[in-house]
Protein backbone atom coordinates (compact mmCIF):
# COMPACT_ATOMS: atom_id res chain seq x y z
CA UNK A 1 0.00 0.00 0.00
CA UNK A 2 1.28 3.46 -0.76
CA UNK A 3 2.01 5.82 2.08
CA UNK A 4 1.04 8.80 -0.04
CA UNK A 5 -1.92 10.87 0.95
CA UNK A 6 -4.66 9.46 -1.23
CA UNK A 7 -7.98 10.91 -2.29
CA UNK A 8 -10.90 9.29 -0.49
CA UNK A 9 -14.58 9.31 -1.45
CA UNK A 10 -17.42 8.67 0.98
CA UNK A 11 -19.68 6.12 -0.72
CA UNK A 12 -23.30 6.77 0.00
CA UNK A 13 -25.84 4.03 -0.27
CA UNK A 14 -29.53 3.91 0.40
CA UNK A 15 -31.47 0.67 0.52
CA UNK A 16 -28.37 -1.16 -0.66
CA UNK A 17 -27.93 0.95 -3.77
CA UNK A 18 -24.92 3.18 -4.36
CA UNK A 19 -25.80 6.82 -4.96
CA UNK A 20 -24.95 8.29 -8.35
CA UNK A 21 -23.22 11.23 -6.74
CA UNK A 22 -20.64 8.85 -5.24
CA UNK A 23 -19.78 7.53 -8.70
CA UNK A 24 -19.53 11.09 -9.99
CA UNK A 25 -17.15 11.93 -7.15
CA UNK A 26 -14.91 8.99 -8.05
CA UNK A 27 -14.38 10.66 -11.44
CA UNK A 28 -13.42 13.94 -9.77
CA UNK A 29 -11.21 12.05 -7.32
CA UNK A 30 -9.45 10.32 -10.20
CA UNK A 31 -8.55 13.66 -11.77
CA UNK A 32 -7.24 15.03 -8.47
CA UNK A 33 -5.34 11.83 -7.68
CA UNK A 34 -3.80 11.89 -11.16
CA UNK A 35 -2.42 15.36 -10.57
CA UNK A 36 -1.07 14.38 -7.16
CA UNK A 37 0.29 10.99 -8.23
CA UNK A 38 -1.77 9.19 -5.59
CA UNK A 39 -4.61 6.66 -5.55
CA UNK A 40 -8.37 6.84 -5.30
CA UNK A 41 -9.83 5.19 -2.21
CA UNK A 42 -13.31 4.99 -0.80
CA UNK A 43 -15.06 4.30 2.46
CA UNK A 44 -18.34 2.40 2.25
CA UNK A 45 -20.55 1.93 5.28
CA UNK A 46 -23.62 -0.25 5.44
CA UNK A 47 -24.86 -3.80 5.42
CA UNK A 48 -24.64 -6.40 2.65
CA UNK A 49 -23.15 -4.03 0.11
CA UNK A 50 -20.35 -6.28 -1.05
CA UNK A 51 -21.86 -7.12 -4.45
CA UNK A 52 -22.58 -3.48 -5.13
CA UNK A 53 -19.01 -2.44 -4.42
CA UNK A 54 -17.42 -3.98 -7.53
CA UNK A 55 -18.93 -1.19 -9.59
CA UNK A 56 -16.69 1.31 -7.76
CA UNK A 57 -13.71 -0.13 -9.63
CA UNK A 58 -15.41 0.58 -12.95
CA UNK A 59 -15.63 4.24 -12.02
CA UNK A 60 -12.00 4.66 -11.04
CA UNK A 61 -11.76 3.56 -7.42
CA UNK A 62 -8.67 1.49 -6.55
CA UNK A 63 -9.43 0.48 -3.00
CA UNK A 64 -12.49 0.57 -0.78
CA UNK A 65 -12.57 0.23 3.00
CA UNK A 66 -15.81 -1.57 3.67
CA UNK A 67 -17.42 -1.48 7.09
CA UNK A 68 -20.20 -4.01 7.12
CA UNK A 69 -22.52 -4.26 10.10
CA UNK A 70 -26.19 -5.01 10.46
CA UNK A 71 -26.59 -2.00 12.72
CA UNK A 72 -25.34 0.24 9.88
CA UNK A 73 -28.08 -0.81 7.44
CA UNK A 74 -29.91 2.47 8.06
CA UNK A 75 -28.26 5.83 8.23
CA UNK A 76 -27.54 7.14 11.71
CA UNK A 77 -25.41 10.25 12.26
CA UNK A 78 -23.17 9.33 15.18
CA UNK A 79 -22.12 5.80 14.11
CA UNK A 80 -21.60 6.85 10.48
CA UNK A 81 -19.53 9.90 11.41
CA UNK A 82 -17.45 7.97 13.93
CA UNK A 83 -16.79 5.22 11.39
CA UNK A 84 -15.60 7.73 8.79
CA UNK A 85 -13.38 9.39 11.41
CA UNK A 86 -11.85 6.03 12.33
CA UNK A 87 -11.21 5.20 8.67
CA UNK A 88 -9.57 8.56 8.04
CA UNK A 89 -7.38 8.19 11.12
CA UNK A 90 -6.33 4.70 10.04
CA UNK A 91 -5.52 5.51 6.42
CA UNK A 92 -4.60 9.21 6.40
CA UNK A 93 -6.08 10.45 3.13
CA UNK A 94 -5.06 13.94 2.00
CA UNK A 95 -8.48 14.75 0.54
CA UNK A 96 -11.95 13.43 1.42
CA UNK A 97 -14.99 14.09 -0.78
CA UNK A 98 -18.67 13.71 0.13
CA UNK A 99 -21.85 14.18 -1.90
CA UNK A 100 -23.72 17.31 -0.82
CA UNK A 101 -26.77 15.15 -0.15
CA UNK A 102 -28.78 14.98 3.06
CA UNK A 103 -26.49 12.17 4.17
CA UNK A 104 -23.22 13.81 3.09
CA UNK A 105 -24.23 17.12 4.62
CA UNK A 106 -25.09 15.34 7.85
CA UNK A 107 -21.90 13.29 8.18
CA UNK A 108 -19.20 15.54 6.71
CA UNK A 109 -19.53 18.43 9.21
CA UNK A 110 -19.39 16.03 12.16
CA UNK A 111 -16.27 14.43 10.72
CA UNK A 112 -14.63 17.80 10.09
CA UNK A 113 -15.50 18.90 13.61
CA UNK A 114 -14.03 15.75 15.15
CA UNK A 115 -10.82 16.06 13.12
CA UNK A 116 -10.71 19.87 13.44
CA UNK A 117 -10.19 20.20 9.72
CA UNK A 118 -11.65 22.44 7.05
CA UNK A 119 -14.77 21.55 5.09
CA UNK A 120 -16.16 23.43 2.12
CA UNK A 121 -19.79 22.88 1.21
CA UNK A 122 -21.32 22.59 -2.24
CA UNK A 123 -18.20 22.91 -4.36
CA UNK A 124 -18.78 23.36 -8.07
CA UNK A 125 -15.17 22.73 -9.04
CA UNK A 126 -12.10 21.18 -7.44
CA UNK A 127 -8.51 21.80 -8.48
CA UNK A 128 -5.01 21.27 -7.23
CA UNK A 129 -2.83 24.31 -6.72
CA UNK A 130 -0.68 26.05 -4.20
CA UNK A 131 -1.42 28.51 -1.48
CA UNK A 132 0.78 30.82 0.50
CA UNK A 133 0.23 31.71 4.14
CA UNK A 134 2.78 34.21 5.42
CA UNK A 135 6.10 32.88 4.10
CA UNK A 136 5.06 29.29 3.87
CA UNK A 137 3.96 27.82 0.54
CA UNK A 138 1.64 24.86 0.57
CA UNK A 139 2.01 22.88 -2.64
CA UNK A 140 -0.54 20.37 -3.92
CA UNK A 141 -3.38 21.91 -2.01
CA UNK A 142 -7.03 21.27 -2.79
CA UNK A 143 -8.63 24.40 -4.25
CA UNK A 144 -12.31 24.27 -3.43
CA UNK A 145 -14.36 26.45 -5.71
CA UNK A 146 -17.94 27.37 -4.91
CA UNK A 147 -20.47 30.12 -5.43
CA UNK A 148 -21.03 32.23 -2.33
CA UNK A 149 -23.53 34.85 -1.30
CA UNK A 150 -26.43 33.52 -3.24
CA UNK A 151 -24.15 32.92 -6.20
CA UNK A 152 -23.10 36.52 -6.59
CA UNK A 153 -19.44 35.68 -6.21
CA UNK A 154 -17.24 32.68 -6.83
CA UNK A 155 -14.92 31.89 -3.94
CA UNK A 156 -11.86 29.67 -3.90
CA UNK A 157 -11.43 28.14 -0.45
CA UNK A 158 -8.36 26.31 0.86
CA UNK A 159 -7.54 24.62 4.15
CA UNK A 160 -3.88 23.64 3.75
CA UNK A 161 -2.94 23.69 7.43
CA UNK A 162 -5.30 20.92 8.45
CA UNK A 163 -5.36 17.41 6.99
CA UNK A 164 -7.38 16.15 5.26
CA UNK A 165 -9.01 18.81 3.09
CA UNK A 166 -12.69 17.97 2.89
CA UNK A 167 -15.41 19.09 0.50
CA UNK A 168 -18.99 18.29 -0.38
CA UNK A 169 -20.12 18.39 -4.01
CA UNK A 170 -23.67 18.45 -5.26
CA UNK A 171 -25.16 15.76 -7.39
CA UNK A 172 -24.82 16.37 -11.11
CA UNK A 173 -21.93 18.81 -10.85
CA UNK A 174 -19.08 16.39 -11.59
CA UNK A 175 -19.20 14.27 -14.70
CA UNK A 176 -19.22 10.53 -14.28
CA UNK A 177 -16.43 8.84 -16.22
CA UNK A 178 -17.16 6.16 -18.80
CA UNK A 179 -17.14 2.97 -16.75
CA UNK A 180 -14.45 0.41 -17.44
CA UNK A 181 -15.93 -3.02 -16.64
CA UNK A 182 -12.45 -4.57 -16.44
CA UNK A 183 -11.13 -2.29 -13.72
CA UNK A 184 -11.23 -4.02 -10.37
CA UNK A 185 -11.44 -2.52 -6.92
CA UNK A 186 -9.66 -3.98 -3.92
CA UNK A 187 -12.21 -4.47 -1.14
CA UNK A 188 -10.76 -4.28 2.36
CA UNK A 189 -13.11 -5.38 5.12
CA UNK A 190 -12.85 -3.41 8.32
CA UNK A 191 -14.60 -4.17 11.56
CA UNK A 192 -17.24 -1.85 12.96
CA UNK A 193 -16.02 -0.76 16.36
CA UNK A 194 -18.95 1.46 17.26
CA UNK A 195 -20.56 0.73 20.60
CA UNK A 196 -24.28 -0.03 20.79
CA UNK A 197 -24.96 3.07 22.84
CA UNK A 198 -23.75 5.27 19.98
CA UNK A 199 -26.71 4.14 17.87
CA UNK A 200 -28.90 6.97 19.06
CA UNK A 201 -31.32 7.31 16.17
CA UNK A 202 -34.06 4.83 15.57
CA UNK A 203 -35.30 4.75 11.98
CA UNK A 204 -38.98 3.90 12.28
CA UNK A 205 -39.96 4.15 8.64
CA UNK A 206 -38.42 4.88 5.24
CA UNK A 207 -40.87 6.17 2.68
CA UNK A 208 -39.98 6.50 -0.97
CA UNK A 209 -41.83 9.09 -2.93
CA UNK A 210 -41.71 8.93 -6.69
CA UNK A 211 -40.66 12.25 -8.12
CA UNK A 212 -43.18 13.74 -10.51
CA UNK A 213 -40.36 14.71 -12.84
CA UNK A 214 -36.86 13.45 -13.30
CA UNK A 215 -34.94 16.45 -14.55
CA UNK A 216 -31.54 14.95 -13.87
CA UNK A 217 -32.07 12.16 -16.37
CA UNK A 218 -33.78 14.30 -19.01
CA UNK A 219 -31.94 14.87 -22.29
CA UNK A 220 -34.23 17.72 -23.25
CA UNK A 221 -35.61 20.32 -20.86
CA UNK A 222 -38.05 23.09 -21.69
CA UNK A 223 -37.88 25.51 -18.80
CA UNK A 224 -40.35 28.22 -17.89
CA UNK A 225 -39.37 31.43 -16.12
CA UNK A 226 -41.45 34.31 -14.85
CA UNK A 227 -41.80 35.48 -18.45
CA UNK A 228 -43.62 32.23 -19.24
CA UNK A 229 -45.54 31.75 -16.03
CA UNK A 230 -49.13 32.43 -17.03
CA UNK A 231 -51.20 29.28 -17.54
CA UNK A 232 -51.22 29.57 -21.31
CA UNK A 233 -47.44 29.91 -21.56
CA UNK A 234 -46.84 27.06 -19.10
CA UNK A 235 -49.14 24.89 -21.18
CA UNK A 236 -47.21 25.72 -24.36
CA UNK A 237 -43.90 24.91 -22.64
CA UNK A 238 -45.38 21.65 -21.40
CA UNK A 239 -46.65 20.80 -24.90
CA UNK A 240 -43.25 21.44 -26.46
CA UNK A 241 -41.54 19.40 -23.75
CA UNK A 242 -43.93 16.51 -24.36
CA UNK A 243 -43.51 16.71 -28.13
CA UNK A 244 -39.73 16.53 -27.76
CA UNK A 245 -39.95 13.72 -25.16
CA UNK A 246 -38.38 16.07 -22.69
CA UNK A 247 -39.27 17.36 -19.24
CA UNK A 248 -40.62 20.65 -17.99
CA UNK A 249 -38.25 22.70 -15.83
CA UNK A 250 -38.55 26.17 -14.36
CA UNK A 251 -36.82 28.98 -12.47
CA UNK A 252 -37.16 29.49 -8.74
CA UNK A 253 -39.73 32.29 -8.65
CA UNK A 254 -42.08 30.01 -10.62
CA UNK A 255 -41.80 27.52 -7.74
CA UNK A 256 -42.00 30.23 -5.10
CA UNK A 257 -45.24 31.53 -6.56
CA UNK A 258 -46.71 28.05 -6.40
CA UNK A 259 -47.09 27.55 -10.15
CA UNK A 260 -44.90 24.46 -10.39
CA UNK A 261 -43.57 21.99 -7.88
CA UNK A 262 -40.04 22.23 -6.42
CA UNK A 263 -39.04 19.10 -8.37
CA UNK A 264 -39.08 21.25 -11.52
CA UNK A 265 -36.65 23.88 -10.26
CA UNK A 266 -33.34 24.23 -12.04
CA UNK A 267 -30.49 26.12 -10.42
CA UNK A 268 -28.24 26.57 -7.49
CA UNK A 269 -30.89 25.71 -4.95
CA UNK A 270 -32.71 23.42 -7.34
CA UNK A 271 -31.39 20.70 -9.59
CA UNK A 272 -28.18 20.79 -11.60
CA UNK A 273 -28.87 19.55 -15.11
CA UNK A 274 -26.69 18.72 -18.09
CA UNK A 275 -29.13 17.91 -20.90
CA UNK A 276 -28.45 17.85 -24.64
CA UNK A 277 -30.87 20.71 -25.12
CA UNK A 278 -32.16 23.35 -22.71
CA UNK A 279 -34.82 25.75 -23.87
CA UNK A 280 -35.06 28.73 -21.51
CA UNK A 281 -38.43 30.42 -21.96
CA UNK A 282 -38.84 33.85 -20.35
CA UNK A 283 -35.91 33.29 -18.00
CA UNK A 284 -33.68 36.28 -17.35
CA UNK A 285 -30.62 34.13 -16.65
CA UNK A 286 -29.50 35.19 -13.18
CA UNK A 287 -26.39 33.47 -11.91
CA UNK A 288 -28.32 31.21 -9.54
CA UNK A 289 -30.30 29.84 -12.45
CA UNK A 290 -27.30 29.53 -14.74
CA UNK A 291 -25.42 27.61 -12.04
CA UNK A 292 -27.82 24.75 -12.67
CA UNK A 293 -27.94 24.66 -16.47
CA UNK A 294 -24.93 26.34 -18.07
CA UNK A 295 -23.40 22.94 -18.84
CA UNK A 296 -26.22 21.99 -21.18
CA UNK A 297 -24.81 21.02 -24.57
CA UNK A 298 -27.13 23.39 -26.44
CA UNK A 299 -29.11 26.26 -25.02
CA UNK A 300 -31.94 28.07 -26.75
CA UNK A 301 -33.05 31.28 -25.05
CA UNK A 302 -36.38 32.92 -25.74
CA UNK A 303 -36.79 36.35 -24.20
CA UNK A 304 -38.47 39.60 -25.20
CA UNK A 305 -35.60 41.60 -23.72
CA UNK A 306 -32.61 41.53 -26.11
CA UNK A 307 -30.32 42.44 -23.20
CA UNK A 308 -31.37 39.58 -20.92
CA UNK A 309 -28.22 37.94 -19.47
CA UNK A 310 -29.42 34.50 -20.58
CA UNK A 311 -28.46 35.40 -24.17
CA UNK A 312 -24.78 35.54 -23.15
CA UNK A 313 -24.71 31.81 -22.55
CA UNK A 314 -27.25 30.74 -25.17
CA UNK A 315 -26.17 29.05 -28.38
CA UNK A 316 -29.32 30.24 -30.08
CA UNK A 317 -31.06 33.43 -29.08
CA UNK A 318 -34.61 34.27 -30.09
CA UNK A 319 -35.88 37.71 -29.18
CA UNK A 320 -39.64 37.64 -29.00
CA UNK A 321 -42.74 36.85 -27.01
CA UNK A 322 -42.61 33.34 -25.50
CA UNK A 323 -46.10 32.29 -26.50
CA UNK A 324 -45.54 33.39 -30.05
CA UNK A 325 -42.15 31.67 -30.32
CA UNK A 326 -43.25 28.48 -28.56
CA UNK A 327 -46.26 28.16 -30.85
CA UNK A 328 -43.98 28.48 -33.87
CA UNK A 329 -41.59 25.89 -32.46
CA UNK A 330 -44.37 23.40 -31.78
CA UNK A 331 -45.77 23.84 -35.28
CA UNK A 332 -42.34 23.60 -36.88
CA UNK A 333 -41.52 20.42 -34.99
CA UNK A 334 -44.79 18.81 -35.99
CA UNK A 335 -43.91 19.45 -39.60
CA UNK A 336 -40.25 18.45 -39.25
Amino acid sequence: MSNKKNVMVFIESRAGKIAEVSLELLGAARDLAGKLGVQVEAVAIGHDLKNELTVLGHYGCQRVYYINDERLAFFSSVPYAKTVVNTIKAHNPGIVLFGATTMGRDVAPRVASALKCGLTADCTDLKIGEHQIKDKTYKNTLLQIRPAFGGNIIATIVSPESVPSMATVREGVMKMITPNPDAAVEIINEACTIADNDFLTEVLEVINEEKAVNLKAAQIIVSAGMGASDPEAIELARTLAAALCGELGCSRPVVDSGILDKDHQVGQTGITVRPNLYIACGISGQIQHRAGMSEAKRIIAINKDPNAPIFAIAHYGIVGDVKDVLTKMINAYKKA
Binding site: I133, I154, T156, Y316
Partner: protein, 289 residues
Protein backbone atom coordinates in the same frame (compact mmCIF):
# COMPACT_ATOMS: atom_id res chain seq x y z
CA UNK B 1 -41.20 21.09 34.00
CA UNK B 2 -41.06 20.68 30.23
CA UNK B 3 -38.16 20.63 27.82
CA UNK B 4 -35.19 22.94 28.02
CA UNK B 5 -34.64 24.19 24.50
CA UNK B 6 -31.91 26.20 22.81
CA UNK B 7 -32.44 27.81 19.41
CA UNK B 8 -29.47 29.15 17.45
CA UNK B 9 -30.34 32.13 15.29
CA UNK B 10 -28.19 34.10 12.90
CA UNK B 11 -28.42 37.52 11.42
CA UNK B 12 -27.53 37.21 7.75
CA UNK B 13 -27.02 39.57 4.83
CA UNK B 14 -29.99 39.58 2.52
CA UNK B 15 -28.37 37.68 -0.33
CA UNK B 16 -30.89 39.00 -2.80
CA UNK B 17 -29.16 42.34 -2.71
CA UNK B 18 -25.52 41.44 -2.85
CA UNK B 19 -22.87 42.85 -5.15
CA UNK B 20 -19.17 42.13 -5.52
CA UNK B 21 -18.39 45.06 -3.25
CA UNK B 22 -19.92 43.15 -0.39
CA UNK B 23 -16.60 41.41 0.09
CA UNK B 24 -13.57 42.95 1.73
CA UNK B 25 -10.01 42.72 0.39
CA UNK B 26 -9.13 39.89 2.78
CA UNK B 27 -11.98 37.81 1.43
CA UNK B 28 -14.27 38.18 4.41
CA UNK B 29 -17.70 39.69 4.19
CA UNK B 30 -18.25 43.39 4.47
CA UNK B 31 -21.37 42.98 6.55
CA UNK B 32 -21.63 46.68 7.18
CA UNK B 33 -22.47 47.27 3.51
CA UNK B 34 -25.42 44.89 3.44
CA UNK B 35 -29.00 44.93 4.65
CA UNK B 36 -29.49 42.18 7.23
CA UNK B 37 -32.35 39.83 7.95
CA UNK B 38 -33.26 37.00 10.33
CA UNK B 39 -31.97 33.82 8.67
CA UNK B 40 -35.21 32.34 7.27
CA UNK B 41 -34.82 28.73 8.44
CA UNK B 42 -33.83 29.92 11.93
CA UNK B 43 -37.32 31.39 12.14
CA UNK B 44 -38.62 27.88 11.41
CA UNK B 45 -36.37 26.47 14.16
CA UNK B 46 -37.72 29.07 16.60
CA UNK B 47 -41.31 28.41 15.57
CA UNK B 48 -40.84 24.68 16.15
CA UNK B 49 -39.42 25.36 19.62
CA UNK B 50 -42.34 27.65 20.49
CA UNK B 51 -44.83 25.03 19.28
CA UNK B 52 -43.13 22.38 21.42
CA UNK B 53 -43.24 24.71 24.37
CA UNK B 54 -46.97 25.18 23.86
CA UNK B 55 -47.42 21.42 23.68
CA UNK B 56 -45.21 20.11 26.47
CA UNK B 57 -44.21 23.20 28.38
CA UNK B 58 -40.61 24.24 28.63
CA UNK B 59 -38.16 27.03 28.24
CA UNK B 60 -36.71 28.55 25.05
CA UNK B 61 -33.32 30.26 25.03
CA UNK B 62 -32.13 31.85 21.78
CA UNK B 63 -28.43 32.25 21.11
CA UNK B 64 -26.75 34.19 18.35
CA UNK B 65 -23.14 34.89 17.59
CA UNK B 66 -22.53 38.07 15.69
CA UNK B 67 -21.73 41.77 15.81
CA UNK B 68 -23.52 43.99 18.37
CA UNK B 69 -26.45 44.74 16.11
CA UNK B 70 -27.26 41.02 15.83
CA UNK B 71 -29.20 41.84 19.00
CA UNK B 72 -31.97 42.73 16.56
CA UNK B 73 -32.66 39.09 15.68
CA UNK B 74 -32.65 38.20 19.36
CA UNK B 75 -35.24 40.88 20.03
CA UNK B 76 -37.28 39.35 17.22
CA UNK B 77 -37.08 36.05 19.13
CA UNK B 78 -38.39 37.67 22.29
CA UNK B 79 -41.21 39.34 20.32
CA UNK B 80 -42.32 35.86 19.22
CA UNK B 81 -42.21 34.27 22.64
CA UNK B 82 -38.66 33.16 23.50
CA UNK B 83 -37.90 33.25 27.22
CA UNK B 84 -34.24 34.25 27.07
CA UNK B 85 -31.78 35.61 24.59
CA UNK B 86 -28.00 35.55 24.55
CA UNK B 87 -25.70 37.40 22.18
CA UNK B 88 -22.19 36.05 21.77
CA UNK B 89 -20.17 39.00 20.65
CA UNK B 90 -16.49 39.79 20.76
CA UNK B 91 -14.05 41.06 18.16
CA UNK B 92 -12.09 37.85 18.72
CA UNK B 93 -14.97 35.85 17.22
CA UNK B 94 -14.68 37.74 13.91
CA UNK B 95 -13.77 35.89 10.73
CA UNK B 96 -14.99 32.56 12.05
CA UNK B 97 -15.65 29.71 9.63
CA UNK B 98 -18.15 27.00 10.54
CA UNK B 99 -15.68 25.17 12.79
CA UNK B 100 -14.87 28.26 14.88
CA UNK B 101 -18.54 29.29 14.88
CA UNK B 102 -19.70 25.93 16.14
CA UNK B 103 -16.97 25.98 18.80
CA UNK B 104 -18.12 29.35 20.15
CA UNK B 105 -21.78 28.32 20.07
CA UNK B 106 -20.97 25.06 21.83
CA UNK B 107 -19.20 26.98 24.61
CA UNK B 108 -22.17 29.34 24.90
CA UNK B 109 -24.67 26.48 25.05
CA UNK B 110 -22.67 24.85 27.86
CA UNK B 111 -22.52 28.17 29.63
CA UNK B 112 -26.30 28.56 29.33
CA UNK B 113 -26.81 25.41 31.39
CA UNK B 114 -28.67 22.13 31.01
CA UNK B 115 -30.57 21.44 27.80
CA UNK B 116 -32.68 18.71 26.22
CA UNK B 117 -33.20 19.94 22.71
CA UNK B 118 -31.16 22.24 20.46
CA UNK B 119 -32.82 23.56 17.31
CA UNK B 120 -30.90 25.13 14.43
CA UNK B 121 -31.97 26.24 11.00
CA UNK B 122 -30.93 23.74 8.38
CA UNK B 123 -28.72 26.33 6.74
CA UNK B 124 -27.91 30.01 6.71
CA UNK B 125 -28.50 31.80 3.40
CA UNK B 126 -25.16 33.64 3.50
CA UNK B 127 -23.11 30.49 3.13
CA UNK B 128 -25.69 27.77 2.49
CA UNK B 129 -23.30 25.40 4.26
CA UNK B 130 -25.60 23.59 6.72
CA UNK B 131 -22.53 22.70 8.77
CA UNK B 132 -22.84 24.59 12.03
CA UNK B 133 -25.69 22.48 13.47
CA UNK B 134 -23.98 19.07 13.06
CA UNK B 135 -20.69 20.55 14.25
CA UNK B 136 -22.29 21.83 17.44
CA UNK B 137 -23.77 18.37 18.01
CA UNK B 138 -20.39 16.71 17.48
CA UNK B 139 -18.68 19.10 19.87
CA UNK B 140 -21.30 18.49 22.55
CA UNK B 141 -21.09 14.77 21.78
CA UNK B 142 -24.85 14.46 21.30
CA UNK B 143 -27.11 12.98 18.63
CA UNK B 144 -28.48 14.98 15.70
CA UNK B 145 -31.47 14.76 13.37
CA UNK B 146 -30.94 16.92 10.29
CA UNK B 147 -33.27 18.23 7.61
CA UNK B 148 -36.37 17.89 9.78
CA UNK B 149 -39.57 18.90 7.98
CA UNK B 150 -41.99 18.00 10.79
CA UNK B 151 -41.98 17.00 14.43
CA UNK B 152 -44.56 14.26 14.64
CA UNK B 153 -44.39 13.28 18.30
CA UNK B 154 -42.67 14.67 21.35
CA UNK B 155 -42.77 14.04 25.07
CA UNK B 156 -40.28 14.30 27.92
CA UNK B 157 -38.55 11.09 26.87
CA UNK B 158 -38.11 11.31 23.11
CA UNK B 159 -38.82 13.07 19.87
CA UNK B 160 -40.08 11.58 16.60
CA UNK B 161 -39.63 13.58 13.44
CA UNK B 162 -39.89 13.48 9.69
CA UNK B 163 -36.57 13.82 7.93
CA UNK B 164 -36.63 14.82 4.26
CA UNK B 165 -34.21 12.89 2.10
CA UNK B 166 -33.59 12.82 -1.65
CA UNK B 167 -36.06 10.12 -2.58
CA UNK B 168 -38.73 10.63 0.05
CA UNK B 169 -38.58 10.84 3.80
CA UNK B 170 -37.71 8.92 6.96
CA UNK B 171 -39.44 8.85 10.31
CA UNK B 172 -36.72 8.96 12.94
CA UNK B 173 -36.79 8.87 16.71
CA UNK B 174 -34.23 9.94 19.29
CA UNK B 175 -33.97 10.43 23.02
CA UNK B 176 -32.59 13.61 24.60
CA UNK B 177 -30.34 15.48 24.37
CA UNK B 178 -30.51 15.86 20.62
CA UNK B 179 -29.90 18.59 18.06
CA UNK B 180 -32.37 19.20 15.24
CA UNK B 181 -31.85 21.15 12.03
CA UNK B 182 -35.17 22.44 10.77
CA UNK B 183 -36.20 23.18 7.16
CA UNK B 184 -38.51 25.82 5.74
CA UNK B 185 -41.29 23.31 5.17
CA UNK B 186 -41.57 22.46 8.88
CA UNK B 187 -43.98 25.25 9.72
CA UNK B 188 -45.22 28.76 9.05
CA UNK B 189 -43.39 31.07 11.49
CA UNK B 190 -45.71 33.22 13.57
CA UNK B 191 -45.36 36.96 13.46
CA UNK B 192 -44.26 39.10 16.34
CA UNK B 193 -46.71 39.56 19.19
CA UNK B 194 -47.66 43.24 19.47
CA UNK B 195 -47.69 43.21 23.27
CA UNK B 196 -44.26 41.64 23.44
CA UNK B 197 -42.89 44.14 20.94
CA UNK B 198 -43.99 46.93 23.28
CA UNK B 199 -42.35 45.17 26.23
CA UNK B 200 -39.05 44.41 24.61
CA UNK B 201 -38.65 47.17 22.07
CA UNK B 202 -36.33 49.27 24.17
CA UNK B 203 -34.48 46.64 26.06
CA UNK B 204 -30.76 46.72 26.17
CA UNK B 205 -28.10 44.19 26.84
CA UNK B 206 -26.74 42.89 30.07
CA UNK B 207 -23.05 42.66 29.56
CA UNK B 208 -21.28 40.02 31.52
CA UNK B 209 -17.69 41.15 31.27
CA UNK B 210 -16.97 44.75 32.01
CA UNK B 211 -13.45 44.57 30.64
CA UNK B 212 -14.91 44.42 27.15
CA UNK B 213 -15.17 47.74 25.40
CA UNK B 214 -18.85 48.44 24.86
CA UNK B 215 -18.71 52.16 24.22
CA UNK B 216 -19.89 51.75 20.63
CA UNK B 217 -23.24 50.40 21.70
CA UNK B 218 -24.05 53.06 24.21
CA UNK B 219 -27.21 54.01 22.36
CA UNK B 220 -28.65 50.54 22.90
CA UNK B 221 -27.86 50.33 26.59
CA UNK B 222 -30.26 53.00 27.81
CA UNK B 223 -32.25 50.01 28.89
CA UNK B 224 -35.50 49.59 30.67
CA UNK B 225 -35.14 45.87 31.26
CA UNK B 226 -32.14 43.82 30.36
CA UNK B 227 -33.24 40.67 28.65
CA UNK B 228 -30.52 40.07 26.13
CA UNK B 229 -27.38 38.81 27.80
CA UNK B 230 -24.14 39.53 26.05
CA UNK B 231 -21.19 37.22 26.46
CA UNK B 232 -17.62 37.54 25.26
CA UNK B 233 -14.80 34.96 24.96
CA UNK B 234 -14.16 34.91 28.72
CA UNK B 235 -17.83 34.74 29.65
CA UNK B 236 -18.24 31.46 27.78
CA UNK B 237 -14.84 30.13 28.91
CA UNK B 238 -13.71 29.70 25.31
CA UNK B 239 -10.16 29.19 24.18
CA UNK B 240 -9.46 32.32 22.11
CA UNK B 241 -7.18 30.40 19.74
CA UNK B 242 -10.12 28.21 18.67
CA UNK B 243 -12.29 31.27 17.99
CA UNK B 244 -12.48 33.62 15.02
CA UNK B 245 -9.91 33.61 12.25
CA UNK B 246 -7.29 31.72 14.25
CA UNK B 247 -9.73 28.87 14.89
CA UNK B 248 -10.76 28.64 11.25
CA UNK B 249 -8.93 26.10 9.09
CA UNK B 250 -10.63 27.25 5.89
CA UNK B 251 -9.20 30.34 4.23
CA UNK B 252 -10.61 32.27 1.34
CA UNK B 253 -7.93 32.25 -1.33
CA UNK B 254 -9.70 34.23 -3.98
CA UNK B 255 -12.98 35.96 -4.68
CA UNK B 256 -14.24 36.63 -8.16
CA UNK B 257 -17.31 38.46 -9.21
CA UNK B 258 -19.31 36.36 -11.53
CA UNK B 259 -18.74 37.17 -15.17
CA UNK B 260 -20.74 35.79 -18.00
CA UNK B 261 -18.57 33.61 -20.13
CA UNK B 262 -19.91 34.09 -23.60
CA UNK B 263 -20.32 31.26 -26.04
CA UNK B 264 -20.73 31.23 -29.76
CA UNK B 265 -24.21 32.50 -30.12
CA UNK B 266 -26.51 32.67 -33.07
CA UNK B 267 -29.40 35.06 -33.34
CA UNK B 268 -32.54 33.40 -34.66
CA UNK B 269 -35.22 35.76 -35.93
CA UNK B 270 -38.71 35.27 -34.55
CA UNK B 271 -40.05 34.15 -37.90
CA UNK B 272 -41.65 30.94 -39.03
CA UNK B 273 -38.88 30.23 -41.53
CA UNK B 274 -35.95 30.71 -39.16
CA UNK B 275 -37.57 28.78 -36.33
CA UNK B 276 -38.47 25.94 -38.68
CA UNK B 277 -34.87 25.89 -39.94
CA UNK B 278 -33.56 25.77 -36.38
CA UNK B 279 -35.81 22.86 -35.47
CA UNK B 280 -34.81 20.98 -38.63
CA UNK B 281 -31.16 21.61 -37.87
CA UNK B 282 -31.53 20.22 -34.34
CA UNK B 283 -33.26 17.16 -35.74
CA UNK B 284 -30.52 16.54 -38.29
CA UNK B 285 -27.87 16.90 -35.57
CA UNK B 286 -29.77 14.30 -33.50
CA UNK B 287 -30.17 16.77 -30.66
CA UNK B 288 -33.90 16.26 -30.90
CA UNK B 289 -35.52 13.12 -32.18
Amino acid sequence: MGLRMIVTVKQVPDTHNVTGEAMKEDGTVNRAALPTIFNPEDLNALEEALKIKERTGGHVTCISMGPPNAVEVLKECLYRGADDAVLISDRRFAGADTLATSYALKCAIEQAGEYDLILCGRQAIDGDTAQVGPQIAEKLDINQLTCISAVTEIDEESITAKRSVEDGYEIVKSGFPVLLTVTASANEPRSANAKKVMTYKNIGKEICNSSYDESYMAAETCAVISHVKEWNVEAISADPVQCGLSGSPTKVKKIQSVVLTGCESRQIANSETEITNLMNELVSENIIG
